[in-house]
């Protein structure tokens, strides 16, 4: 039983005396059989909390600097149209009372709190985003991560790993970008995919008839979920771990890469689909940067001199993280050059940076 949380805010060009607005608003709440407690705010404006039937709660604040905020909480099985009417009445009354003093009226879609299906998945750059998610189609905890596949009306199924939106069935743009945006041909080539458990890259590269693709994905449970629920992304490619021109190794890629380095094995293209780049240098992210450097160094070692390494970066807005990453690229044992591209991946709801890296 979720909580619906409505907000209705009036921004004003000048502060308003609570005495002019409060009594009329309270009378609207009294009609709803709500009773108020007025709090002492120590000079920070008028604040009343009103409790009503069925768990309804209202917070009414007339701030000292030209802002009136109203919060209304109710349970989801409450009479929603009655509450819409209440909000309409409040909005109408405030419009009349504050006439000429209003710079903005903001009534946001209700925040749904504690719902069975969670619709709020913030962007990488930390913005509040509500998705059109209506059901959970797969959930598993593996040894490595929490795996969810959620259904979105517009994006199809979305793979969410540890709370991060990874890829939706609508996101061919992601796969095309991390494959080099159509600027390279995979025909007859040796290709290494790191991660990629949703099967999207594998399914697209296979179409170009490469010589051999090796995909190294650590998490069988990601493959298990995606091969059933992300078929618009992976087709039938995950149904078998081996095909005419591909093999999937369900292993940690680090020892695999080390073995390839040792054996002198080389690839024309390495596609790193493991994770977005860390977003800070905070201590808790240190191990992520180390991991990133390790993968990068090993990958460049197995890259053919004329080969290309492709990877995702992060949100275009996280300029500091992107700069940190580019600094890392300047510090590799083998000198590299890079280019980057900004791409719109439909389900991300933010623009995303992709890198192409090659040996100098």
């Amino acid at each position: 039983m979720a909580l619906r949380h409505y907000t209705l805010d009036f921004s004003l060009s000048a502060a308003v005396d609570p005495a002019t607005a409060v009594p009329d608003l309270l009378s609207i709440f009294h009609e709803q059989e709500m009773t108020e407690t007025v709090h002492d705010t120590d000079g920070h404006g008028y604040l009343a909390t009103l409790v009503g039937k069925n768990g309804r709660l209202v917070i009414l604040r007339v701030h000292t600097h030209g802002l009136v905020t109203i919060d209304l909480q109710c349970y989801e099985q409450d009479n929603i149209s009655q509450l819409d009417n209440l909000l309409n009445a409040l909005e109408k009354k405030l419009k009349a009372l504050l006439n000429g003093n209003i710079t903005r009226i903001k009534r946001l879609p209700a925040l749904i709190r504690g719902a069975k299906v969670d619709r709020y998945w913030p962007t990488a750059d930390g913005r509040l985003i509500e998705y059109d998610i209506d059901r959970v189609v797969y959930e598993a905890d593996s040894a490595y991560q929490n795996i969810k596949i959620l259904h979105s009306q517009q994006f199809g199924n979305i793979l969410v790993l540890n709370g991060d939106v990874n890829l939706a069935e609508s996101d061919l743009a992601y796969t095309q970008a991390i494959m080099g945006s159509g600027n390279v041909s995979y025909a007859g080539k040796e290709v290494l995919i790191l991660g990629g458990g949703d099967g999207g890259i594998l399914a697209e590269v296979v179409k170009q008839k490469p010589k051999m693709i090796t995909m190294v994905e650590i998490d069988q449970k990601v493959i298990d979920g995606c091969k059933v629920h992300m078929r618009k992304t992976c087709g039938n490619i995950l149904d078998n771990l081996k095909g005419d021109c591909y093999q999937i190794l369900v292993e940690d890629c680090v020892p695999v890469l080390k073995k390839y380095v040792e054996k002198g094995k080389m690839f024309d293209y390495v596609i790193n689909d493991l994770t977005a780049i860390p977003i800070s240098t905070e201590p808790e992210e240190d191990t992520m940067w180390e991991f990133l450097r390790l993968i990068l160094d090993l990958s460049i070692k197995v890259l053919h001199p004329s080969g290309k390494y492709f990877t995702q970066g992060n949100s275009v807005n996280l300029t500091e993280a992107l700069t940190l990453y580019e600094e890392q690229l300047g510090k590799l044992s083998c000198p590299v050059d890079f280019s980057k591209e900004v791409v719109c991946v439909p389900s991300y709801l933010e623009l995303w940076v992709f890198y192409t890296i090659w040996k100098k």
Copy 2:
């Protein structure tokens, strides 16, 4: 001075007795010199409001059905890292207290209420969306609408008409879609654009060397704003109302269309960029449907028998609105066929439907 509104919610697998969680939480608030009022909820769980220094307010609810919700409101100039620490302490304490009973912990990015620059522009399908908007670059009220041009870090400037996100500088995908997604050539053709005040369509069609483009935009103030602040979209095309192969009529398109019908003037392509289709048949939208039918009927009348009419629909999620529109297409005086396409327009943060319509 905006209000920052934090939420921290714990979903539980079983209801929890407030007595087990509340005292420890209150002690955290007491350390912050907050004092509580406990409210009678008539059997709807535990509810306390806590008022602190500097206008801080906390709502603590232990609901009867396995949900704990915490709201924290503070002013934007408050000590944010101190408040982050408070939320961290609450989260840690609740994790320990409710250990084994937690199904989800949700701590959303703070909602910023009453800010100078508003970042919340819900999608057409009614979802709560926070944009990365950092400043208002243009605002005007014309005789027809409120016009805002807002700066987004990732999308560039965004044109917002009456609160609806219209087009951002990142949105070439919109312009390409409403021009027929590259499936038609405008070279040597007669083209009519209805609306289009941002200049995006005009700027792109001109590149294809049509015979003549006539654009009919009612609102000079849209043109005034866009020609300065949307130059990545319109280039210099709006600097003059007339060019080698185009003219801009700053007029209501209805009498213009009627005049064209009367004179028997025909166009190879008509691009209707006026507005998204109405989303319901509620009485207040009746006039919008009438307007839409009128424009559609007149447009088809001025369309060459082998011509195409292009228009935007609405969010792919508004299936009812799209169906209503398609029903209208079946009722025109001149029978038409149509196709539709779903397109990702970067700044919309929802997939959008575009229509191509032609005479049977």
